[in-house]
């Protein structure tokens, strides 16, 4: 029991988010529990409206939690002040879905990478050292820093921007990374590159990765553990093989049967 607790990076108990006031309230997330273990790849699979975006924001500390507690590294998470939030964000980071929306179009891309260096305490490093760090980060994602420096976001392609987001993570080396649909706006042929880079980060740094996606095939391919989310609740969770090849809940079964198959026959007679 204590062994398991030690290996948990982030966990939550009774996490709830309610929007609106008493008369017109919407329960986006309804008393969910979760446990993300160190070094594992976890996916949260849900359709639109399931609450996965809300829970992502709560885990990241971008939205307040109405009820429940989040535990980070064994202790209760405390993000009451700006300084404490900054400390928390040294341990947890995110990669977003739309690379173009994630970059401020009025600033050069160097600014984003420099912010990461500063966050890791590198403000007083020399210019050469900073450039070296940024070149190394770009190299990790197969980009050449010399070609990208001093450019604005709109001068780069979507694939390059998404890889820059991953370069950010390389510089920050957080303990846990939340990847919110990182491949949905990327071509099928470049998807594998992004996934490979994320998995390499996990291998080299024992980083926990949480994938948020609606694509159950992707979840199965890349993760060790899968959580299925519906209407604000986790209806099922377990190892990827268990949940996807042997689903127990009706919702999970229906979700899997609705996805077109190529190896097995896709049963079109049952419709949700």
């Amino acid at each position: 029991m204590s062994n398991e607790k030690a290996a948990t990076c982030l966990s939550g108990k009774g996490i709830t988010k309610i929007f609106g006031n008493k008369k017109t309230k919407t329960i986006a997330v309804d008393h969910v529990d979760f446990e993300f273990c160190k070094g594992k790849v976890i996916s949260i699979v849900g359709e639109s409206g399931s609450g996965k975006t809300t829970i992502t924001k709560m885990i990241l500390g971008l939205t307040s939690v109405t009820e429940g507690e989040i535990y980070f590294d064994g202790k209760i998470r405390d993000i009451s002040s700006h300084k404490k939030k900054k400390d928390y964000w040294r341990g947890i980071q995110a990669v977003f879905q739309d690379p173009f929306a994630a970059f401020n179009m009025f600033y050069k891309i160097d600014a984003v990478l420099l912010d990461c260096i500063n966050m890791r305490g590198g403000k007083h490093l020399s210019k050469e050292k900073k450039t070296e760090l940024m070149t190394e980060a770009c190299g990790f994602v197969n980009l050449k820093f010399q070609e990208l420096t001093n450019k604005y976001p709109f001068e780069l392609s979507g694939g390059q921007m998404q890889r820059l987001m991953i370069a950010r993570i390389f510089l920050l080396k957080p303990k846990i990374l939340i990847a919110d649909e990182p491949t949905s706006m990327v071509d099928a042929c470049s998807r594998a590159t992004i996934l490979d880079m994320l998995l390499k980060l996990r291998d080299e740094n024992n980083m926990t990765i949480v994938f948020i996606t609606h694509d159950i095939g992707l979840a199965y391919y890349v993760s060790d553990i899968v959580y299925i989310m519906e209407h604000g609740k986790f209806v099922e969770h377990g190892s990827a093989d268990e949940v996807i090849l042997n689903p127990k809940e009706t919702y999970t079964k229906r979700l899997i049967s609705d996805v077109p198959k190529i190896y097995e026959k896709w049963d079109l007679t049952t419709v949700g």
């Binding site: 359709e47 639109s48 197969n142 392609s157 694939g159 071509d187 099928a188 042929c189 470049s190 998807r191 594998a192 590159t193 996934l195 490979d196 609606h214 694509d215 159950i216 095939g217 992707l218 979840a219 199965y220 391919y221 990827a240 093989d241 996807i244 090849l245 229906r254 979700l255 899997i256 609705d258 996805v259 077109p260 198959k261 190529i262 190896y263 097995e264 896709w266 079109l268 419709v271 949700g272």
Partner: protein, 335 residues
């Protein structure tokens, strides 16, 4: 071979940009679809599949311009017709087109039944309201849609229901060819399944004689269409039956695409997904030789220089590459 519903011979079309430059969006595309068959067109964003769909309708409006080639629908060559004639005689009753996110095109101020009346009156002004209503009810029942939908407005319907309604309205005149451009991408998986089921229903019941299904999701095509065609940079690079294309692709690009398919099935975990680095060529100045040569692992020097024609085989397969089947077998053996 059954009756040919749609035959396209060497179609070329282009876009003219604001700066008066030409973007050669569709280049030398030929295909044949028989009665009762469906063709899937796969490719990544920007490869020209949506442009091809617009071009097939014969409805050319600036900035899209027709350059050369034939489009023959059930024996009738529409490439020489003026856009207005195409609109009056061909669209709706011979060819129907469902654009991407078509469900947003439903007029929210009218009831569904009145939208259907508009469509039918455009081609048959004398049809009576009762006839239209009967036809609509019958059609909706056949396709598994509740007839209450006819009296509703589009804002009262869910996304999946709207999309299915649009498909039902577009095919109400039983066109010979239905072109569906990403009919299910914006929907969640269960609505997607319903749309797919409806399209298969339309084909099976003979309400449409043939179909072209355009999408970037290959597992869908595998389960819906008889044949699959892969497009790259405005050209067709390979064509074959769905099964052959997914499990035994020949062209390096098709192989790359099929190798990147992810499905929630056992066996996918151990596969290494293919990666194709680089970007498609600039279609303002398309390269002389093979358009895929820059990104191709197997490219030889002559690939970038020599013009590459389609190779047609007796089993109906086609691919556009300088390699022969034996050379492919050898090259892929090392994969």
């Amino acid at each position: 071979m059954g009756k040919i519903m749609l035959q396209v011979n060497n179609l070329n079309t282009k876009y003219i940009t604001r700066q008066r430059e030409g973007v050669y969006a569709v280049n030398d595309v030929s295909l044949i679809i028989e009665e009762g068959k469906s063709l899937g067109i796969a490719g990544e964003s920007g490869c020209g599949k949506s442009t091809l769909a617009l071009s097939l309708m014969g409805y050319y409006f600036s900035p899209l311009h027709y350059i050369s080639g034939d489009i023959i629908i059930d024996g009738r060559n529409i490439s020489s017709m003026k856009p207005d004639d195409v609109r009056k005689q061909v669209l709706g009753n011979e060819i129907a087109y469902i654009p991407q996110a078509a469900m947003n095109a439903l007029n929210p101020t009218q009831k569904i039944i009145s939208l259907i009346q508009d469509v039918i009156h455009a081609h048959n002004p004398k049809a009576s309201k009762k006839d239209i209503s009967d036809l609509a009810k019958e059609r909706f029942e056949l396709l598994g849609l509740p007839s209450e939908v006819l009296q509703k407005h589009s804002v009262e319907l869910s996304g999946g229901m709207k999309q299915r309604t649009v498909i039902a309205i577009s095919t109400i005149l039983s066109p010979k060819v239905l072109i569906a451009d990403e009919p299910s991408s914006a929907l969640d998986v269960s609505s997607q399944k319903m749309v797919i089921k409806m399209l298969r229903n339309l084909m099976e019941k003979g309400l449409i004689k043939s179909m072209i299904f355009i999408t970037h999701e290959l597992p869908l095509l595998y389960n819906v269409t008889n044949d699959i065609m892969v497009m790259y940079a405005g050209q067709m690079v390979e064509k074959g039956s769905a099964k052959e294309m997914v499990f035994d692709p020949r062209h390096p690009y098709s192989k790359g695409l099929m190798g990147a398919i992810i499905v929630p099935e056992a066996g996918i975990k151990n596969r290494k997904l293919t990666v194709i680095s680089g970007t498609p060529p600039n279609l303002k100045h398309p390269p002389e030789g093979c358009r895929y040569a820059q990104r191709c692992k197997f490219a030889r020097t002559e690939c970038s220089i020599q013009k590459v024609e389609e190779r047609n085989f007796s089993d109906g397969r086609m691919y556009r590459c300088l390699y022969s089947i034996e050379e492919f077998k050898e090259a892929y053996a090392y994969e």
